[in-house]
């Protein structure tokens, strides 16, 4: 019953993603800057202190970052949809409104997944992948990362009226999610407060999952800090929770009627 409507939302996402080539290009360049500029810079310090290859350590983190930005930005387009006409098509369609949240979450996750896959190709070309990696776990890891990042994005989108303050969302959501995870450094080394923050951040578990998949077993035991089962449970659990919360918010009368008035441009007319 819901296959075609969900497919419609996914198809639109893909059409738009490949049309916005600059967005796609920056989604590839951003992680590479981190990998080669930040990675090389800090690498000189860190490798002297602890040994090991910092860029190798960073590779799962920047892969996660690509999924994070791809899925977050795609989920946030739901706020634009409210301003353009697309949300009108969705709210008048014959299905319960939580399906809109589910479809948007899946399409945002798809955007993050596709962009992470593209980066994976780039990383392979640059020699960051090895045949010793667990590719099944890597695929699962990217899926779970994309889903949980889409969950963060849909939660922000459901509670946001306009994207006028997009910079605030970058500063207070996307950057903290990225920095307060294990993407750049092991969370074990963080001060207690930051460590607690990292432990409630779903992205921490997503990146940890990617580390399990991408680092060789020897490296992985040193750098991934949680078990695969915990990572999977945390990312899956968070995604479901985010969808439920966002749906509740979206269909709640008080949140919903102002939306109708935004969509129709008037009150009580």
């Amino acid at each position: 019953m819901m296959v075609r409507p969900i497919y419609a939302v996914l198809e639109r996402e893909v059409v738009k993603m490949f049309r916005q080539r600059t967005r796609l290009l920056s989604a590839m360049v951003r992680p590479l800057i981190w990998l080669f500029v930040i990675g090389a810079g800090f690498g000189t310090v860190l490798e002297r202190a602890s040994g090991g290859n910092y860029q190798q350590f960073l590779a799962p983190g920047v892969l996660g970052m690509t999924a994070l930005f791809g899925a977050m930005l795609a989920a946030l387009t739901m706020v634009y949809d409210k301003e353009s006409g697309v949300m009108r098509m969705l709210i008048i369609a014959p299905f319960a409104h939580y399906w809109i949240i589910i479809a948007k979450t899946l399409s945002a996750a798809l955007a993050g997944f596709v962009q992470a896959l593209l980066l994976l190709v780039v990383l392979a070309v640059l020699g960051f992948l090895s045949v010793k990696m667990n590719f099944a776990l890597l695929a699962l890891g990217i899926v779970m990362t994309a889903l949980s990042c889409a969950g963060i994005g849909i939660l922000v989108a459901a509670f946001t009226r306009t994207l006028d303050n997009f910079a605030a969302i970058m500063n207070f959501v996307i950057f903290p999610v990225f920095f307060l995870s294990g993407a750049l450094y092991p969370i074990d080394n963080l001060p207690a407060l930051l460590k607690i923050t990292a432990m409630v951040n779903p992205f921490t578990y997503a990146v940890d999952l990617l580390k399990h998949a991408m680092l060789t077993p020897l490296q992985a035991s040193a750098t991934s800090e949680l078990s695969v089962a915990v990572d999977l449970a945390a990312t899956a659990g968070f995604t479901v929770l985010a969808v439920i919360l966002a749906s509740w918010r979206f269909s709640r009368e008080q949140a919903y009627e102002p939306l109708i008035h935004i969509l129709t441009g008037k009150r009580g007319g």
Binding site: I92, A93, P94, L263, G268
Partner: protein, 314 residues
């Protein structure tokens, strides 16, 4: 779907004591509305009178505060999804993705209604032909003119062949030629499909084609009937007099012509008979004291003005 109540089977729309309150404001007040299947129904009224709120309650986007309604036999409170499956809604503002092409928009809309892609293709071709848009299939919606976009919005609203179509001010913001075009499209659509259409407008001349119209004022239906009967009830003629002091003139002529409607420096009287002799006499009598005196047939605009004046006086 077993929620069709026997009483509502023949009615496309049946609203009973439907009300919507926003804090202090009673946007819709105990509205009673019955639209037989297949009818072309006009809901008319000034801005802010509750037309859009009524349409949004009937299309399940807003929950009524009290009262009930059934659309196409489905209860709007208990079966909103069934209601949405049987209606089409054309919003006042465009419900299209401007960055996608005409065909991509219709595909998106059709898939949301669970239509097979081949069915969408076929219906898109038919409807775009009917609406004169068949050469625009691959154009981005953002590059279409306002009139074409509105036409496409209606195509989008009927791609799933709804039983009831809600049109909320479909011609607002369009110039006259485009408004006429949209009306021709709606006529053709009704002729082809026989669907029930509920339209709101404040361009009253457009509602002449309706089978039935209702005037809504402050959330209440204050008058309803066929456009012809309502116009006939106004009288045989409307006498319009332009004068420097309309208030004094209205008072002076009240014993002879009855109550007047003032609109700027215009005074309007209803005139019940075909015998225009007294008016000719009046014209001679007033002479150059008035700027102009016109005799014309009444139309729905007059109904609207008189209905509103009666409401304001209350």
């Amino acid at each position: 779907m077993n929620d069709a109540r026997p009483a509502t089977l023949q009615s496309a729309v049946l609203a009973q004591a439907l009300s919507k309150r926003y804090g202090e404001l009673l946007a819709v007040d105990n509205l009673e509305l019955e639209i037989p299947a297949g009818q072309f129904f006009g809901l008319l009224g000034p801005n802010g009178s509750g037309k859009t709120t009524t349409i949004h309650m009937l299309s399940t986007l807003i929950r009524p505060s009290t009262g009930s309604a059934a659309v196409a036999g489905h209860d709007i409170r208990t079966h909103p999804v069934a209601v949405r499956a049987s209606i089409g809604l054309v919003f006042q503002d465009s419900a299209l993705d401007r960055t996608l092409s005409v065909a991509q928009n219709l595909r998106f809309a059709g898939l949301l209604y669970n239509l097979h892609p081949a069915v969408i293709e076929q219906r898109s071709a038919e409807l775009l032909e009917l609406f004169g848009l068949n050469d625009k299939r691959d154009r981005p919606v953002g590059s279409l003119s306002g009139g074409m976009r509105r036409a496409l919005d209606i195509v989008r609203g009927v791609i799933h062949h709804p039983q009831v179509l809600f049109l909320d001010e479909p011609t607002i913001g369009l110039d006259l030629p485009n408004r006429r075009k949209i009306w021709r499209f709606i006529e053709r659509l009704r002729a082809n499909t026989g669907m029930t259409v509920l339209l709101t407008t404040h361009y009253l001349e457009e509602a002449d084609a309706c089978d039935q119209v209702a005037f809504i004022h402050a959330g209440k239906i204050v008058q309803r009937g066929t456009p012809q009967a309502m116009v006939e009830a106004i009288g045989r003629h409307v006498i319009e007099i332009e004068a420097a002091d309309p208030a004094a003139l209205a008072d002076a002529l009240k014993p002879r012509l009855g109550p007047a409607l003032k609109d700027g420096d215009l005074v309007m009287f209803r005139y019940a008979t075909e015998d225009l002799g007294p008016i000719a006499a009046l014209q001679t009598e007033l002479g150059t004291r008035v700027k102009a005196l016109r005799i014309r047939r009444p139309n729905l605009n007059d109904v609207f003005l008189w209905v509103n004046a009666a409401q304001v006086q209350k």
